[in-house]
């Protein structure tokens, strides 16, 4: 019995989280198959076939995968899924939309946001916004799970999987794609960046003016708190936390952030955490390796200048 992984991509490249899902799947010691559902997939399929430990790439091409809807991707997985014991996706917006549908139609439970896999079918996952770690067991015949990308290592590039073609099921008629807005930026992707600099609402309209120069100097991605996003100072897709992106970079710099549990849930796995806040009692300091009590509008430019 093999393992099927849903490969997320943007039409050009696979997401790094695919490689992290692949290393999570190693726990089963079983052949690992990757489903690439796309519209023009040749390059993607080659990229997928080179991922270490992947044994087969299933190339499913259809026009509806140009802008994949959860309905169509779930149908594709179901077409194949009954032959598998485990179906995995990364815990991204995409994986979270698709996998519950697959589980429901297979009549099995799903386990979300898996941090670690003990013996296969025993999982540890965060509950209560990461304040508690639950270990649970699933007894269903097919295991369906999303895994937290940042908790698993990135699989390498020395694979040589076979490539097989598969026919896509008919496209759904219930839903249609209308449009998409990508917040383009030349910074690294938030979820996989090595350095993340996040700002709170106190940055106000100075968010970019203060943080961008430091981010450029360190090659960092920018993140923000919900309060900051809600106030319109930063775009929604860079929110870090329970209801945003979960990050675990080597270095996380929290600038003017109070340290609410919902924010901590998204960054407490970072290797080194720095907090800059003018309130010495801010909760963020209890979670920081290095705390600097200072006015951010002075400290951040000083830090940027000193790193020349």
């Amino acid at each position: 019995m093999s393992i099927l992984i849903l490969a997320e991509h943007d039409g050009v490249h696979l997401k790094q989280s695919v490689r992290q899902a692949v290393s999570a799947a190693a726990a089963w010691l079983q052949p690992i198959h990757l489903l690439v559902a796309g519209a023009e997939t040749a390059a993607l399929v080659r990229e997928a076939a080179a991922i270490s430990t992947v044994t087969r790439v299933i190339d499913m091409q259809a026009p509806q995968f140009q802008h994949p809807l959860a309905e169509d991707v779930a149908a594709a997985l179901l077409e194949l899924g009954r032959d598998y014991r485990v179906i995995i996706a990364a815990h991204t917006a995409f994986g979270r939309s698709v996998l519950p549908r697959v589980a429901a139609l297979l009549d099995v439970a799903m386990v979300s946001d898996v941090l670690s896999i003990a013996t296969p079918a025993t999982y540890t996952r965060p509950i209560y916004a990461g304040n508690v770690l639950a270990t649970l067991e699933s007894r269903d015949p097919i295991q369906v799970l999303t895994v937290r990308a940042s908790s698993h290592v990135v699989a390498g590039n020395d694979g040589a999987a076979e490539i097989v073609q598969a026919q896509a099921p008919a496209a759904t008629s219930h839903s249609r794609w209308v449009s998409e807005t990508r917040n383009l930026s030349d910074r690294p992707e938030l979820a996989s960046a090595r350095v993340v600099i996040s700002g709170g609402r106190s940055l106000g309209s100075q968010f970019n003016a203060v943080l961008d120069p430091l981010a450029r100097r360190l090659g960092a991605a920018l993140g923000a708190t919900r309060a900051c996003v809600d106030a319109g100072f930063a775009p929604n897709d860079i929110q870090v936390g329970q209801t945003g992106t979960v990050v675990a970079p080597d270095l996380y710099i929290a600038v003017g952030i109070s340290g609410a549990v919902q924010h901590l849930a998204g960054m407490r796995g970072s290797k080194v955490i720095v907090a800059i806040n003018h309130d010495p009692d801010a909760a963020i300091f209890q979670n920081a390796d290095f705390g600097l009590v200072a006015d951010l509008f002075e400290a951040v430019p000083e830090l940027t200048a000193a790193l020349k």
Binding site: A70, A93, R96, A104, N131, L292
Partner: protein, 249 residues
Amino acid sequence: MKVLVAVKYAVDFNIKPRLKQDGSDVDIAGVKMSINPFDEIAVEEAVRLKERGIAAEVVVVTIGGEPSRDALRHALAMGAGRAILVQTEVELQPLAVAKMLRAVVQREQPDLIILGKLAIGEDAGQTGQMLAALLGTGQGAFASALNVKDGEVEVTREIDGGTEVIALRLPAVVTADLRLNEPRFIKLPNLMMAKKKPIETILDSDLGIDISPRLKLLKVAEPPVRQAGVRVQNVQQLIEHLRDAKVIP
């Protein structure tokens, strides 16, 4: 148009959870409960559709024990018209909730079904997508805007790296993200008035659905605590520490 909203009575988001001594589960005895924040947003959206004359009726449903009536009263006070309590003492997992909601949908025949994107506590984030799959309808997960027109609902979804707009033929299932709206404050007279609105009770056994749990909780634990950090006096010291830790050049 009829809108059905599913709400969960969940541990209040301000509560820091306590673990039972034996580590078998979270101890929620006597803990403050409230309507799940995402579900409050779902109710608000439905009530706004009614206020704008797009929805004729808003029905709210919860599945849970007697105390979860509180969540229904909250939704009624916000402006929902009537409520259904599917009474159960079983701790339900998302697949079972989705199956029970499907039974309620089959009775009520709503055009639009709105859930929260995630019930805090368990933090699963599965039920809406499962319900849509079981019903065979389209789904709009993580909605930050809704627009109902011509037998369709246009949903703006929050995705990684931006937003996406999709159109779903009704009936459809939508799950509410935080930015969909800001729920109203409930005024006392509305809370009083809500007491007069009907709450129908259905017993879980009447639905004849297998709700036995599929997942078995083995243990709970606190996440590893981070080591107490260092307070640096100035930017220069900070840089030295970060260089020692080899995280900056």
